[in-house]
Symmetry: C2
Subunit: 428 residues, 2 copies
Amino acid sequence: MSIQFPKSEYPRVVIISCGFGGLQLAKSLNGAPFQVVMLDKNNYHTFQPLLYQVATSGLEADSIAYPIRKIFKGQKNFHFRWCEVKSLVASDNKIITNIGEVAYDYLVMATGTTTNFFGNSEFEQKAMPMKSVTEALNLRSLILQNFEKALLANTDEERQALMNFVVVGGGPTGVELAGALSELKNHVLPNDYPELDLKQMRVILVESGNELLQAFNQTNQQRAKTYLEELGAEVRLQKGVSKFDGRTIEFKDGEKLLSKNLIWGAGIKGVLIDGFDETVINPRKRLLVNDYCQINNQTNIFAIGDVACMVQPNYPNGHPQVAPVAIQMGELVAQNLIRQKEGKSLQSFNYNDKGSMATVGRNRAVVEAGKIHFGGWLGWLVWMSLHLMLLVGFRNRIVVFINWLWNYLSYDRNIRLIIRPFTPKEEN
Amino acid sequence: MSIQFPKSEYPRVVIISCGFGGLQLAKSLNGAPFQVVMLDKNNYHTFQPLLYQVATSGLEADSIAYPIRKIFKGQKNFHFRWCEVKSLVASDNKIITNIGEVAYDYLVMATGTTTNFFGNSEFEQKAMPMKSVTEALNLRSLILQNFEKALLANTDEERQALMNFVVVGGGPTGVELAGALSELKNHVLPNDYPELDLKQMRVILVESGNELLQAFNQTNQQRAKTYLEELGAEVRLQKGVSKFDGRTIEFKDGEKLLSKNLIWGAGIKGVLIDGFDETVINPRKRLLVNDYCQINNQTNIFAIGDVACMVQPNYPNGHPQVAPVAIQMGELVAQNLIRQKEGKSLQSFNYNDKGSMATVGRNRAVVEAGKIHFGGWLGWLVWMSLHLMLLVGFRNRIVVFINWLWNYLSYDRNIRLIIRPFTPKEEN
């Protein structure tokens, strides 16, 4: 059965998922002679860079999510359907979803990535991912629940397992989360749990490579490590995890550590639907695209953002999986669709890299743009301002700003609520 | 197994639940020679009067919930445990919880109320209650999900069932919710769903009595009805529901109405634990207490707030189940515990009724205090100011204020997010 849309004389562009890329693409097609159909399993756009602040009780989930229908209010050629897309039938120019079929003239995969456990089912079942709003809320619940349980622990060992937090993966997510957990330890939890000795709480960031923030300048890598250590986190480089039964983490070097909190930020993989040829999928489940974001040189199927892998001279492994690439690819595909229609030639993607940044804690962030790199209070201010600007929705910006101001002045994190308790899988 | 607490030379007051009453009691015992133990199945206090705004996408859940540990930060004689209390063993002065036993010297039931379906299992399974944060979030999801589904409906009948909203119960909750739903209909949903004819949406408030807001002055009752009708809601008095299969509502007078949205605000009952003698429980599951809030004249077991029923000359059926009664009872029990310890006589409860209010929509609320009663814009302003003042936490007050200002200026409700989809029980 086909999902119905209002009749249109224009070709239909179906966009799967409203992340940074899909959102930009749909916006850039406002007023263009296309019918834009957006499909997403959530009815909101998620501002992923701030998920770690939701997980650590610093921000409301509702202030980093924004209703898709509201973003496109008044865009007459835009239609949203809340559904999960299952598979592609390229031969019929249609996709299959859980609520019916959708025919397309152009299809854009903007599905982003999900956590990659590299096939390890133990990690998949027992480690905590943090790539969606619900996952961040589950993590928030788990952190708070384990402190409540630590109060009830009968043995020191049990209490220590509940208070050991291990973050795997030294990329921006891992660094930011380890920093935020350390701030909880230093400023918030001692007030909440005067009956516990918070010195017992350990935050351990584990990275298999030689440095944190591998994509960053060396000075900034070192800065991030120093910042984390200043906050009391332990940074373990060249260290990998091999096993986790829900209670004991085993490292590749044989070390064992009791912990009921293993947070997984060590890898991502593309979110795919069935029906793509294996030859266009790389090992990280990214779709191989040409310079126009077209898959397999097909002229009507595109991939943009994190799920796309465009090999270009400066980017032999594809572009970094960050919001600016997705946004620029979304913009490019929109422009090319319009150019094509006007009989003009297509333009190649040319990434305008404006820089990178990551924050560790109050007054501590690293920023780089070209040859410029700096950290500290200024970095932190730049990080905050840019993230505020990028947030969708003026109300969200105000609410996030007030929360940040509040958290800064009070050294507090207010949203430590267990709204829906999380049930961890029991250890063996 | 007993739950451990720090040793204390003082008698232990165990308070079950941190609603308005329990919160006030524990605060009033700050610095007093008692060990205060608070038990709650949530780690937060819920500001129940604003739940309907969470359900209708106007406020974040996180801004009307407040972490209990934060409320009592620095109160040295206060200890919180996150647990569910199962039963009372009065003979041993202890209670049983899901995490162990707790001995008490004084026990205070401050457990409040839950939705009363009066034994009708169909309503219990298929109607939506709205007495907790999770229930309000479920309702928010259901409302939004049903509009997404209305877009996909194959028949007009199906679409109408998804767009008919029936609220049962003409008390403040029902009135406020019907008003908020009407505002969604008038200002928000038409922008979100240009493909739907929002005139089809119906909001019907059903009340079995002769008037809305039975506890209110007659002029205000009439005002509330007029306000609702101005907003486009249908008010049906002297009407009761008898059946609901998830799709069709059958009324007591035989009328049938297609609706997948039956919201239940028609009754409440006390939340009890096992172990109380039947003779102290009234038909609405309230615990009968004397003028000192003592149950069965026992000197060490109390009930306060909504779950308590104190028959006094002016209140032959107990006091109204509203926050001010709970707060004043909490204060009374605290003072009496202290007085008792000082060898002074106990004081009787004497309710200081400061008035009532309910809001219907923007610029429309009814307020009364003694012989004064008014409505309209002034009532609405008073309603807002008082609710802002009563909210726990300065950050929450700011966030709620900004949301209200935003909603007022933009005629919008920003938080229409389906964070965790709700799965309704299928119709037969």
